[in-house]
Each structure stands twice: as C-alpha cells, then as structure tokens.
C-alpha cells in the first residue's frame, strides 16, 4: 500500500511541475497528456493576511505537496481588503495585495483558483443597486455591468510584482465566477443560470487561457428549470464542481459511496473534470480516494484540514487509468433546412447518442439516435425557420455507462421561402350575389382577403419625424396605401375591408386626434380631407386589382361609432337603432358615400367595381332588444335605403353574428338569422376570434362554429363571409396551423369569402396580436396556399 502511495506521489510531483493543464472530457491532463488528480486547499483568509504570511502559508502548503490553492478576490464595498469599495472605484492597495498573493503562489509553484464574487460581495452589489433581494446580483443588468467592470479591471491588470497580466498569468489555474453561489429568490434558477452563461462568456472573452468554474453552494439543486449539470454544461464553464459536507448519517461507508456516486453522476452529466469541495467527517483521504477513484479530478479542502491527511491526499493520484475511458465524440457536423436539421457524428466506440439542442442555453430539447452505433446521423424536426440553434452530441455506452460529449456547436435553419402566388386581375364587373354564391359577371366568385383599417390616415415615419411637412406626410401616406395593397395582391388577397368610418362628436374633439381620423365632424360636417384620402385608397386598390369593403359606421367607439350618432341626436346609445333622428343622420352618411364622386378617378362610388359592397355597421349590437328583432328591423330599413340609392352594389351587415339561445335571446341583440333575413341584405357575415381571451375555443370547437355559420347561410340562400377572424401569436396556439385549418374548413364547407383580421405593413406597429405582415413568410404562405386555390377557381 505504501509503495502505491509513494509511486503516486512521484507521479503527482511530476505532473504538477508541468504547471499547465488541459481538459479532455472529464479528465484533467497535463499539457503532455498525462491525466492528473489534484489536491487543493481553499485559503479563505489569504486576502486578509500580509504578504509575508501568505508566502509562509504557500510555502507550508508546498511542503505538504499541495499545488493548487483557492483564494478569493471577491472583497467588495466595506469588506476588509475590498478591491472595489464603491461602484466603479477600485482600491489600488488592495489590488497590489492581490498581486503579491498571486506572485507568492507562483514563487511556491502553486496554482490559484480565484473567486471573483461570493455571498458577501453579492450583498454589497445589491445594496449599491438598492434592490430588495440577494439575487439582484444575478438579475439586475446595471449590477451585472458593474461586476463586468470589476472583471475587466482585474483580468486586464498587470501584476505589479510579477509584471504578468492576470489574464495570462500561469500561476492562475481557474476563475471561480462566484464562490458558494446560491439561488434564493428565483425558483426557476434561471436568473443564476443566465448570469453564469453571461459571465463565463464575458470572462472567456477576456481570458481564453484559464479555466472557468462556478462554485455552487448547493450542488445540483438550483431551481425548477435548471440544475447543477445545466450549469456545468455551459460551454464556457470548464470544470464541474460540487460541495459535500456529510452524505450519510449511517457512517463513513455510506458517505464515501455517496461521494463516489455523485462524482460519477456529475462527471457523466457534465463531461467535465469534477471538483469535490469536501468538508465532511468521512476523513479527507478517504473522501479524496472515493472521489478520485470515481473519476473526480480535484479534491478541495478548507485550510484547516488535518495536515497528515492533506499530505496523504496530495500524494494520492489513484488509479487514473482505472475505469472505463470516456466515449469520444468526433466529427460532429450539422446541416439544416427550414424546419429540420441533421447532425452527424462518429464515436470512439459504439454507444447511444442523444443530441440536445435549443435556441438558447440551457439546451432542453433533445433528439435520439435509434439504437447504438459508431457513427450516424440524428434527425431533428420541428425547428423554427431562420433560427440559430446550439447543439451538443452526447453519447453513452449502455453496457458500461461510460459517456462522452461534444462541445456545444451551432447550426442555423434557413428562412422560409415565400410560395409563388397565382396572379389575379380584376374585372370591371360589380360583384353580385345570387342563390348562395357571389358572381363576377356570370362567373362564380370567391375570395380570400383581409382587413386593414388604417390606410386612410396612417403615414409611416410620422411619429419619428415630427418635422415632416404636410406634403411629405401625404406622400408617405399615399405611398403606403399602394405598398400595403400591392403586398396584399402579391399574396392573392382580393378583397380588403378598410376602415371607413370616423365620427367626432364636435370639432373640438376632432382637433385632439389625427385630422384624417374622422369622416364626419359633428352632425353637420363631413371631413372632405378624410374622404379624399379614401378616394386614394380606392385608387390604390384599383391599381392592385383589389376590391374594397366600406362600412358606414361602427358599433364600437374607437372611431366614434353609433354612440356619436346617439349623442348628436341627444338620445342614449341604445336608442340608436330605433331613434328617427339617428336614422336620419345615418342616412346622411350613406348619402355622402353613395353619391360621392372619387376626386382622383372621377368615378362615382356607386358605379365603381372596386367597391365590393356596402356594409351597414361593424358588429352592430342592440342590447336594448335581446331578441334581435329591433336590430333586424334597422338592418332591413337601412339596407333598403342603400339599395334605393345604389341598386348595383351588394349590401351586407358587418355583423359579428351570434345565434340566439334556446330562450330566444342573446345579450348582443344580434342574431345571425334575423340580421341576414332581409331581402336587402345580399350576403351574411360573421366574425370569430377563437383564441381570444374569453373564448379560448379548441380547433374542433372553432370548426363546429364555422360549419354552423356556413350552414345557416346556406339555409338563408346567401353567401357567407368570414369577415373577421384572427388567431393570436402568443405561443400557445400554432397560428399557421389554425389559419390553415380554419380556411380549409370554411371553404370546404361552402364559405365564399374571408377577410383575415388583419394585414399590416411592418411600419404600422400597432399590433393587437392578430395581425400579420408581408415579412411573416410562414403565415403569408398559408394565405398564398388558399388564395391560389381560390384564384385558380378551386374550392
């Protein structure tokens, strides 16, 4: 036995004299490739001692055979020996003291692990920030900036004793990002994890030569989302670490077994050399033996440890060739397309392979290689297009449990390509409806379209450039009309429902908003400027072969709406649907539109084929009469009035359309059947937002509703238009699948037209969560798919 120790001791001496190490998987090796095991001492008090005392201590450790020592450079704020007494102010004397310690280590052939932060400094940083939690150190970006400044200061410092830059000093073995790092306030553990990712990368950016570690206080236990092995898998963290105090109440044998098991587990999970910081009662030597025989690389003690045991430990290297050598992962590469990637690998011997991947650390997604192999390809599906992924190949030999892993690597999926859209043109016919179908002349007509409410008044860049002239604004606005509608046409959207109402109670109110926001200002004045802009919208649509739906007013108040009419008439909002004065005002609005001659083209609106239809009101509700009868009477009367003025164009309701309950009521006072029964109504509309907060319908439920509406329209003998529908992008729903399935269901069931809510250009950033832009290629492709079918005459 003694002979073994002696031999091992010599091996250690030889190894540490080399003074340079590298990491190969879980093994720590000398530059010459010789695996080593190290014993280390944590000298907590070094920064509090004078240089002579530190020199003596290191000298004593050297005599004991200790070649690796951990010290702290974390003293901050008011702490003794503080390197950074105030944020951004560094104490040169304290730094010089650190210089002396590092030099003393070099003199005694000792390598140093230097802790950059610890619980005390975390607290100081928290106080500086005025934060309320210990983890402010991790979470607060301002604080992280301060810590980085300290790291920068230290790592770029040139030792005043040795003249060596810290980042290049061979006396330094590793940087410990945080000594006794713990996680208190964040149950997920992500704040500490993200901090470790950020800080390890930052240190690595300043110092590629030294190892980086994280001295976790609680080992594996960090949070619900990450654990210790996630920390050790961080690419820029080189060493795994765990602290053990006492593993078992049952005695030393259990404690040593626990150490052995832990070391093996961490080694396999991290693929990196494992440091054991041991403060338990099992006996230093026995703990070190258990750790090292389990493959552990470094064992660390407090400086108070028993001398004899330290000597024995420092002399022990174990049987470094014992056990099964790690599986080496070679020749890793990846290729990716839009939604998938292939990762190829070669192994030193046959093993099971798993690829872990993700767009951010930690890598939580995984794909398995089926069976075992020396080499192969792992397929990964369901990736996001145009995204950069990190991945790591992990191998494990089933028989022995030996493992290995590649470094973290990257691949990038390609962005989706826009599908080719079928071009379409617009006839000079005014679209009509008959027997449940739309007709373009004698040809049956169906369409896919969208809503876009802002074209009349919105000018890109206006907000950013307050100094824009009126002419510049107008140019930008009209240019944008063309842009949006041309983009719509490129997708195959043939009919656009464009915001066309706007009622201000008074002139005074109108002044508080965009001058073009209101079509009608007070009961007596129409805003010609706004109407002229809509003339331009019509012409932009004409240029792009797009037809336009105009609605006269809105049940909702965003742009005035029926409530303003009621105010003009001096009645309650609920009376709008029955009050004669309101009806008179409303008919005036109808007159203004129907009789209008487009100031750009000179075409009367009522003769213009660009106009797809007139629409009475956006989402009319009459809560005054929950049976829906009063609203139906209003619809019939007003649609009849429009028909009397313009018999050519179709008229519809704009209704979001509910169905009465069994008791013959609905709180909205709107009923799909009654709303569309009038002979003056040419087609039926409905609006549906299945993923909206208070609905949260499943796809099946949504399809059921679509069927119900389309079937009800068929019963009425009129075409049905899904005039608004929108799917949120909050991640819970796969929007593209939903849109695809809803459109398929709608058209296959017999629906005739769709307007998605809503289509916008990228400059218009007011997104309610439903909108899509021409740049959202995947979504655009779904629309193109259906538009192509429609525009080729399908469905």
């Amino acid at each position: 036995m003694k002979k073994t120790f002696f031999t091992a001791f010599l091996t250690l001496i030889l190894a540490v004299y080399a003074q340079a190490y590298r990491v190969e998987g879980p093994l720590l090796k000398t530059d010459s490739g010789m695996p080593v095991r190290l014993a280390s001492v944590y000298v907590h008090t070094a920064y509090q001692s004078d240089s002579a005392a530190v020199d003596d201590a290191f000298s004593a450790l050297k005599k004991q055979g200790i070649k690796l020592v951990k010290i702290s450079a974390a003293a901050t704020g008011a702490a003794q020996g503080s390197l950074q007494p105030e944020p951004g102010r560094f104490d040169e004397n304290a730094l010089k003291k650190l210089d002396a310690i590092v030099s003393a280590a070099a003199k005694n052939d000792i390598s140093l692990i230097i802790a950059l932060s610890d619980p005390d400094s975390k607290e100081t940083y928290r106080q500086w920030a005025g934060g309320s939690n210990a983890d402010i150190f991790y979470k607060d970006k301002l604080t992280r900036g301060r810590f980085k400044k300290f790291i920068t200061t230290l790592l770029s410092r040139v030792n005043t004793v040795s003249g060596v830059k810290y980042a290049a000093d061979p006396a330094i073995f590793a940087w410990d990002l945080c000594d006794r790092a713990d996680n208190i306030n964040d149950a997920t553990g992500m704040s500490m994890y993200n901090w470790a990712v950020e800080m390890s990368a930052f240190v690595k950016s300043l110092d590629t030569g030294h190892f980086i570690m994280m001295g976790l206080k609680d080992g594996f236990t960090i949070g619900d989302s990450v654990n210790g092995s996630d920390i050790f898998l961080i690419p820029n963290i080189d060493l795994a670490f765990y602290a053990a105090t006492e593993f078992s109440e049952k005695g030393q044998v259990d404690a040593l077994t626990a150490i052995s098991d832990s070391t093996k587990a961490i080694s396999a999970a991290s693929g990196k050399p494992v440091i054991l910081f041991y403060t338990g009662k099992a006996g230093i030597f026995d703990a070190a033996k258990a750790h090292m025989e389990a493959g552990g690389a470094i064992v660390m003690y407090n400086e108070t440890a028993e001398q004899e045991q330290l000597v024995r430990t420092s002399a022990y290297t174990g049987s470094i060739t014992d056990g099964v050598p790690a599986v080496t992962v070679n020749k890793v590469s990846a290729t990716a397309d839009v939604y998938a990637a292939s990762v190829s690998f070669e192994l030193s011997r046959e093993a099971e392979v798993k690829v872990i991947y993700g767009t951010s650390l930690p890598l939580k997604q995984s794909a398995l290689f089926k069976g075992t192999a020396f080499k192969g390809i792992v397929k990964i599906d369901g990736l996001k297009p145009g995204s950069e992924y990190m991945f790591q190949v992990m191998a494990q030999e089933p028989a022995t449990g030996a493992s290995g892993m590649s470094k973290v690597m990257k691949f990038k999926t390609t962005p989706p390509k826009r599908a080719a859209a079928v071009k379409f043109t617009m006839s000079k016919n005014i679209i009509t409806a008959k027997d449940g179908d739309f007709y373009d002349g004698k040809k049956i007509y169906r369409y896919l379209g969208a809503n876009c409410y802002y074209l009349r008044y919105y000018a890109p860049g206006r907000r950013d450039k307050a100094s824009q002239s009126e002419a510049e604004i107008t140019t930008a606005r009209r240019k944008n009309m063309d842009y949006v509608l041309s983009e719509a046409a490129k997708i195959g959207l043939k009919v656009m429902r464009i915001g066309s109402n706007g009622e201000a109670v008074t002139e005074e109110e109108a002044k508080t908003a965009d001058p073009l926001r209101y079509i009608r200002i007070g009961p007596d004045k129409f805003n010609e400027k706004a109407l002229v802009e809509f003339d331009h919208v019509m012409e932009a649509a004409r240029r792009n072969n797009i037809r336009v739906i105009i609605h006269f007013t809105d049940n909702w108040e965003y742009y005035g709406g029926v409530g303003v009419y009621a105010k003009w008439a001096g009645v309650s909002r609920e009376e709008f649907w029955s009050n004669e004065q309101c009806k008179k005002y409303y008919k005036q609005t109808v007159d203004a539109w129907v009789d209008r001659i487009n100031t750009v083209s000179g075409i009367k609106y009522k003769d213009d084929p660009v106009l797809f239809c007139w629409e009475l009101c956006n989402e009319p509700w009459d809560r005054n009469d929950v049976t829906g009868k009063e609203l139906a009477r209003w619809i019939d009367e007003m649609a009849g009035y429009i028909k009397s003025k313009d018999p050519k164009h179709m008229v519809s309701t704009g209704s979001d359309s509910f169905f009465l309950k069994e008791d013959g009521t609905h709180y909205s006072g709107s009923d799909f059947i009654q709303d569309h029964q009038s002979k003056n109504i040419d087609f039926c509309t409905y609006h549906v937002y299945p993923t909206y907060e208070h609905n949260r319908f499943s796809l099946n439920t949504t399809k059921y509703l679509i069927d119900k509406w389309v079937d009800a329209g068929r019963t009425l003998g009129k075409p049905v238009v899904m005039e608004e529908f929108g799917i949120t992008k909050d991640g819970e729903y796969n929007r593209n699948i939903w849109i695809d399935e809803m459109l398929t269901e709608f058209y296959a069931r017999g629906g005739k037209g769709v307007n998605y809510w809503f289509f916008r250009d990228a400059s218009y950033t007011a997104d309610d969560g439903f909108a899509f832009t021409p740049e959202e290629t995947e979504t655009v492709n779904v629309f193109i798919k259906h538009a192509n079918i429609i525009n080729k005459g399908g469905y």
Binding site: G131, S132, L142, T512, Y559, N695, S698, T701, E732
Partner: protein, 1232 residues
Amino acid sequence: MIAKISIAILFAFLVIPFSLSAGSINFDASKFYLWNGFESELGWSTDDWKDNAFVSARQSGDFVSQGSKSLEVPFNFARPGQSGMVQTFDTGDISAMDAVSFDIYNSSELEMNVCLMVKTGPSWQYHESKTVKLQPGWNKGIVFSLTAPDYRSESGGNEKTIQNLNFMRRFGLLFYATGTGDGAIYLDNITIKGKHGIEKFFPQEEPEGLKHILIDDFEEGPLRWTASTGWSCAYTAEKASAEGAGNAMKAVFDLKNPGQNAVFSMEGGWDMSDVYSIKFDVYNPADYSMSMTMALSTGDKWTWQESAGIKLKKGWNKDVTVYFKKMNWKNEKSGWSGSVIPDEISSVKRVSFVFNPPDLGKGYVLMDNVTVVTSDPSKVETMMPVKTGDFAFKIWNSFEKGAVGWEAMSDQSGAVLAEQARNFGGEQARGMEMKFSVKTASDKAMYKYRNRMDFADSTGMKFDMFNPLDFPVKVAVAFQTGDDETWIETKQISIAPGWNKDVFIDFTSASFKSAESNWNFTDNFFTRKDIRTVILQVYPDRPAKGSIFMTDIKLARRNLFGEIGKTFGFTLVNNSHITVEPITYTKWGESCFENGTTGGWQGAQLGGWGAAVAVVSPSRASEGKNSLKLYYKDLPNKFGAEYTAATSMDLSQYDYMVFDVYNPGRQGKYAVAIKMNNTEGTWYETKEYVLYPGWNKNIRIDLTGDDWKTVSSNWQNNITITDRSNVKNIYFIITKLTEGVVYMDNFRWGKKGDFSITDGAVEQDVNFIYTPSDNLEGAATLRAAYYQGQNSALDLTSAHVIVRGLGSELTAFGGENCTVFDDVFTLVDPSTLGANTMGISLKGTLGPWATAYSATGLTLWQYDSWEIGHSYIAGMRLKQYFMGTNYLGTVLMNSRRGYAGDSNLLLGDYEQGSTTCGADMSLFAPAGGLFDVTVKGEVLFNNYDTYKPVYMLMESPPVYTAELLDEAKQRMMIYAQADMHIWDLTLHTAYRYMDRGFDTTFCDQDYKEGDNAKIINLTYILDNAWPFSAMAKWSPEWAGFIHYTKIMAEYDGNDQMSDSYMRNTYTFELKNDPSLALNNYDLVVKINDEGSTYDDAHYSDATIRTVKATLTTKVLFGDRLSLKILARNNNTADLVWDDSAGNYVRNGYNELTAFAEAGIKITKTLKLTGNYKYITSVRETHSNWYAELEEILFGAVSLTASYGEKPFTGYWLDDNNDDTITKFMLTLRGYF
C-alpha cells in the same frame, strides 16, 4: 302605537348605521397617497401597444420602494425610436387627481425618457406629457401633473390639458430609450395627490389578522357544490381523487354551444363583507389554457357579480386568488367593465366558479382547497362543511321494517314511486328505491314521508345514498312543520354516481331556507319539534328517467363524551316564557280543592248531557296537593262540571276567570257557561276552544268579553254579559269527547289593573339516549319544570326501547305525548291518542317475499301516565307487495274500552269493543311514460262487540282514529281512489262510502257523520301554458316566480252525509310552488253548498251556499323586509230563527278579513315581525295587533319578546277573532 314603535326601531337600525358610516378620513390635499404598490395584484400591463419594447409585466420582490413588491417590466429596445408602454385600463373618473408620482428603477445602463400617456373619453383621446429623464438605477418621486397644460395630443402641440379626466381609458407610462439594449424597469409606489374623491383609488390594504378558512378540501362529507345545468354547460360536479392532492371536486362540463360557460355553485346566505379574497387550486387537463371567473349572486335579485378573468394554464394552478376588494369586478351596473367591487356583498346567495370550456363535448377541471381569507370567520362559518365526527347517531329509518313509508309525490313532481329495495346494501340489508321520470332540466322528483315527528332532541340527520346513474343528481330535504305545514328546506347536496355515504344535514346551523328567511339559506330549523312531513327532493338537472337509492337514515345528537358519547348521550330542550299583563290574579280558594272538598263543584248532567262525576283527587294538581277529577262518559258526547254558588256570586268585580285543566285523553273542546241567578236562569256560554291532550294551563275566560252567546243573541257568540252580579252556576263543558276524565285546579279570578306576571314557566327536558348498536335503542325524556303560581314538576315524561333485527323492529314505548312509535301502516294516528300512551309494536318484513307485517298493541286514555290504561287497541296488518309498490293487504284490529279504572283490559268487563277486518290494495300502472295510474282501494268490515263500540275513519291516505259508532253492530266502509298523471295534468278521483254511524266530526272539519263522498280533483301545472311560458322567458326571476304554478279544480260531492244533510263543494285554486318561488301566492275560491235536505217545517232554506275567496301572498322587498298579506271575503250565512216566519231562515252576510304582516330582519339574527288582522261583518268586527322581536342566540336558542296575542297566521285564517289584548311575553326556546 305599535306602528310608531316599529318605525322608531326601524329608524334606529336602518338610519343610524348609515349616518355613522358617513364619516371621512383625515384627508390632506397636499399629500400623495398610495394608489398602487403592486403588493397583491398588478393592475398594470404591457398589453396592446404597438411594437412595445416592454414584453411583459410581473410582480417582483427585486426592486421595491414601498411594501414588499413592485412591478417588473423586462424590456428590449431593439431599435432606435422604439417605445415601451406599461399601463392600466379603465380607471374611470380620475378628475379628482391632480398629480401622480412614480418610483422607477432602471435595471440597465440605458438612459431613458419617460412620459405619462393617457387616453380618455369615448374616442380614446391621446395625451402625452413632457418627458422626464431616467438614470440607470433608482429614479424615485417622478411626478406628472394631470392638470398642467403641457400635454401633447395626437395632432401635435404640447400645450393641451387632459380632456375627459372623468373618463380615463388608458393610463400609462411611455418610455423612450436613448439607445438599444435590454434590461428591466421596476415600477413601484405609484402615489396620487388631489381632491376628495381620490380615496376610491386607495388600495384596500390587506387587513391585519386575516384568517384563512378552508371551506372545502373535498375530503369528507357530501359534495356541496352543484353543477348549474340548463343555463350553463356544467354537467356534473362530483368528487374525484386528485393525484397527490387527496380528493378534489371534478367539475364536468359538456359544451354543446361554443361560448357557453360552465357554472358550478354553492348556495347559501352569507355576509362576505369582511372577505378579503378567495383562494383555490384548479387543475386544467385541457391542451390549452382556459378562462375562468368567479361569480357571486348577491342581494334579493341575485345580482350577478363577476370577477376579473383568470387564465388557467394546463395542469395545476395553485392558489388562484380572487380579491373581493379590488375594483376589477364587473356587473350590469358597471356596464360589464371590470371597474367595481362586487355589490351587496353582505348578502351573497350563491358563489360560483365559471369556466369557459374550450372544447366541444365533455371536459372537466379539478378544484381543490377552496379557502376564504377573511377578518371575520364567523360570518362565513356556514360555508364550512359540518364535521360529522362530532355527532353520535341513532337509526330513524333503515327501511328494514316493511313498507318504506315514503311515497312518490307524482302529482307535483317527476317522482314515479318509492319502494323498498331488497338486498340493497347499506349497513343492513334494505333501502329505498326512488324512481323518477322528469321531463325538463328544472323539474324535480319529490318523495314524502308523513307522520308526526319530533326531532327536537336531534341535531342533525344523516343518510346514505346510492346513485346508479352515470351522472350526479342533487337532493334537498324539505320539512313541513306545524299545523300550517310550513315549508323549510335544506340546501341542495350533490349525489355523485356510486355510494354517497354520510350525507349530513345539520339541524343546528342557520342554513335552511323558508318563507321566514325570504328563501335565503339563513333560517334556523327551530320548528323540528313538530314535523308533519319529510320530503326528499331529487333534482336530476336534465330530462331523465332512473332511480336513486337511500338507506340508513339516522338522527344525530351532539357527542359531548367522546367514545362514551357514541352510545350514550343526551340533548337538552328548553321551553320557557314569562307573560306580563295589566291583570292581577287572586285565588278562588275553595276552587283549589286543598281542603279536601270539591268546593261546590260536581258533575253536571243537564238535559242531553252525558253522565259526569267530580271528586277530589291527589293527581294532576297544578297547585297545592289536590285537584278536581271529573269522570265523564256516555252519549251524546257533551259533559260538564258544575259549580253552584251557595246563594249567588257577584262576578262583576272580576274581569277574568282562570284555571288549569289536565286532559289525559285525546284532543277535544271545551266551553264555559254561566247561569244567572234569575228566574229565567239565563244561560251565557263562550265559544268552544280546543282542549289539548295533557296540560291546558291558564285557561282564561274573559267575563267582560263580547263573544258570549245566549238565547237573546240567537246563540251567536256576539254579546257581552250585561250583569254579572248575580250568578248562580258556572259550568265547564266538554264537547267532542265520549268518555274519559279531566283534572281541574287552581281557579283564579283576574282583574284588570296593574301589570303583573300572569304566566311564567321554565320547562327543561333532558333527553337521554342509549344506542349501543343499531339494533338497540333506549331513550327517556326527563322534564324539570317550574310554573309560576303553580306546582313545579320533575317527571319522566316519555321513554322507549327499540330492538331491531331480522328485518324487524320491536318497540316498547310509554309516557306523555309519546310519539315515538313509527306507525308505518298508519294503523293509529298518534295525534288522536291521549296524552299518555303505553304500548308495544312489532313491524318488519318476512323473508324475501316482500311481505310486510305490523302488530301494535297500545293502551291509552290513561288517568295517569305510566299505568296500564283500561282501554287498548290491538291491530295487525299484513301487506304483500309485488311488482314494486303494488300490494294486497289485510287488517285485523280489536279494541276494547272499559269504564272502570280497575277493569281488566283483556278479561274484564268493558263497555265498548269492536273487531275490524278488511282488505286493501294498491296498484300502480305506468303506461310507457305517457301517463301513469294509481288505484287504491280498501274495504273494512266492522263487527261491534258491544252496544257502543269504537272506531274508525278513512282519509286519504288512510288514517284510522278512535271514533264512536252508533248502535248498529256491523258497519261497512269502502274507500277507493285512482290517480292518473298525464304530463302536467293530474286527475284524482276518490270514492268513500261509510255506513252511517261513523262519527268523524273531529278528525277533519270537512267530514261529517258518515258519508258517501265522490271527489274529483283536477290539477294542471301551468308552467308551459301561456302566459306562464312567456313569463318564464322574460327573465329568470319570472321563471322562478311562476315555477310549478298550478291550477286546481275540485268537486267534492258529499251527496249523502246523513239522512238529512248533504254538501257539495267546488274549489278552485291557483298557486305557485311554495318551495321555489321568490314570492308566493295562493288564490282559493271555495263554494260550499251545505245543509239539510230534511223537509221539516222548521227549515225554510234547505241548504246554505257559502262562497269563500281567499288570496294569500308573501312579497319580498330585498332580503330584510317581507310582507305577508291575506284577504278573504266569506259570503256566508246563518240559520236564524225567524219569529214571524216561525222557522229558521237563511241570514246571509259577508265577512271580510284582512291580514297583513310585515317582517324585517334587522340583523342576521334579529327579526321584528308585526301583524294586524281585521275581520268585519254585520255581526262583529275584530282587530288584532301583534308584534314580536326574535333574536336567535348561538344558533340554537330563540328569544322572543312579543306584544299581544299571536293570531293564527296559517294558510287559512281560523275563527280566532279576538281583539288586541295588552300582553307582553318573553319566550325562550332552545335545543342543545
């Protein structure tokens, strides 16, 4: 006067608290007050802003300047010019605010500018303040003026003031970064300064000392939450095991119409004004998140109040919290915008969890750990489940002893039948199967058990139910109590598929609903001493056919003695009162019989009276040691005791005569007469009053009253005795009884004058119970009593022993008013027995043949209790059931009654005896659900052993009673009935033939001597008929109001009641369901043609037609005020002697009755009730005021202070037409 006092009390209770609450805080307009410290809820979000650099907002403890939480808003300014917005919506009117201040921590190295951005008014007008520069780190006290003219509108400029501050739509902070980068903003300590009116924005601070009351962890007892089917897509609520969480409630819904919500509710009546929040756990198994809210139905209109929406993620959502003090609730008043706190929170009728299921078809959520956080747990204690472990139980009905005794109320519900279920399970072998077939989701099935029951010594009821269906049903138990059959009902209990063991009803908590509580679940069940009907109501909540099973109904008593208490225990019942009146009493010494003589009293036997003998007795002395014992017997059932003055008596010095009577026999009537010492011997007589079995203490005869009758009043009770100074005789007259004994004592004279205590008593019963097992039960009641001015008492009042086994039950019982024996065959109606009974009964089922038998032997009509009586009844009954409730039965009964107290019951002489034998049958024929028919019939043959035998009478259902027959030795009785139900129509026909000689006078006022009755009764439920169907559609309130509105027409043709007397009655009635409607009404028109057909020269008008129209209604005004109104016009007539005509003539007149009662609940436990009754006719006019103030103490004690004499307030007003008397009474009753 009373009205004024009532108004004063009303003012005191209603107005003063409001005045006190109008105080104000010490408000300083120069100070900033906290608006939002983000301590409990965010209120601010990053929603709905274009290209928002702020992506989310969450509560954080990282950077806090106030309290312990702040709002953390991570940002990523990805490009120049990008803005970040965090805001709150719909704050309403903030015009009282002058300025707002923020503390902002900038967790980045970016320099930013921030401004206040608000949108106001109907058109969401845009206003943006000047910007303020933000440094990295803390920026505390950033103030924006809300009144300064330095805001920019959408159209530009920077000199505008904010318009429409009274209509704030969007109120937020808009951040602009000077560069790009990520980080986070922490927002805290938002404070406001301004005028009075900003107080409403101050956060409701979490009060100190909040208690977390777990109201449901769904571990024990029955499920108290129910699925609201019909108006929501909730399907069932049932218990289910939740992995790692014990039991939970599985709330199942079945979405058929997208958008419909699923509501799961618990009903009650709770004051939740001190509730701060409710927390619960919800498991959402769906693939997507789901929306839910919590809803409260409050106030008398059950106004719907709904909380802010809650998003339930997939999986467990722990500690989901709904805050009651946050202004994010919505109701109709708020226009359904989430900007108010719930209204009428002190009166919460229903708490609901409302889910929005995402998927069509069936789905579910699990709910667990519903916890109320409140500062006053006592107000919500009834939300907590009753811990049945604190009770001990005795069997009430385990369905082992033959017929179940329950019957389906198929004329009012979807109940089809109730029958015994054999080999059923439960603790013993048998149970009850209740079949039903309901047509709509709101219909119920009702099953009733009729008997006289005294549950005063029980604190609850427990039973087991088995639900073989694949969906839960709800059940509620209703009781009808007292002569009025007053309805009181428990909450609904959900019965899940499978066994539901230990369903418990707590009698002691204020959790019942009744008209008294305005149908809120706040009533105490104090009337359980006199239960007439128990009704089990089953709500399948959907059109359904099926069965539900019940067994092992047990009564609970409090267990104060741990293990011992499970077998041995006691309950306490206290009845006490004290009465103060402006009357002073003096003893009539010689009529207290203490000197051993009868003091001038003797048995009276006037012409036509039966024989009576009066002796002094040491028994039943209510004062001193002696009483006057009066034997009476013989036909024609009018007896009396007579006092003869030595010369004459001057009663003009007295206003009242008062005395006590003990009646050991059954209920009869009495009157008092005075005979003048004049040559005519003028006779004055009172009306008849009820002589109850047992003690009738303080019988008071008003000598000055105006309701005496004499020859000069045509024997109408409407005159005053003109001269009381010369009285020769006083008579105590017993009527309606045939034979027996009464004891009289303690005669006093009363004189109006100073107030004194005229009556006072404390009765304390101790009910001992010993139940070592379900097979053995022994019980006894000990009464200790003190009576003011009378002897105290310490008696063992009743006892019984029950031995059960082999499907049978043997009961031995005895004592005063002993009602213990459960006569499921209705052989004997205990109410017709005397005060003292002893007997033994054996009942059960023979083997597997469904042969039920019953044998009862009892003695009755004792002189004293605890002695074998010298009358007895022995009866046997056998019923063979087949195919459910169909049966063929036989009956054999023998009765004997001896006159002499020492006669041998079995072998000695007796003066009356009879043997009855007969057969009965019942057939039930359901015709494929289209309609069903029940036919019942009974033939009884009497053989009278003696000249004057005893008995009996049929009612529907058959009830036998002790009655007298005439000389004929054999008598036949036939009874047949058929009931048919077709949808909402019920047809009931009955035929009853009795040989003349059956004297039925006192069993039912409508029955006369023998009859040949033909009854046709047609009832139709109008719910689905116009206009009721239309009313139901108008609103849920109307639907509730008209539910089970039924119209009934009845023809009762008693065409031969005797040789000389007949009657035909036509009744029309319109009434709604007394158990459901918010406001009850009952309109009855009754036409009665009645009289003698005997062609005698003395009768000029053979029959008299009376037409009686009565409307009763109870109208509710909120939860606190109720009004009960009765109006009746009785067009009636007397037969009066017409001297000129020389015969009796019909003297018709109208009698108008008006009765109004107002009740106000001053507090949860204090109720003031006042009523006024007014009756007028050409004959007499009476008015009566009565008021009482009742306080419920400890939930088990009722203390009542009253003025006046409580009039009869039941369904029919009786002829108790007394005027108001000055009388103050304090009454205490308590069940422990």
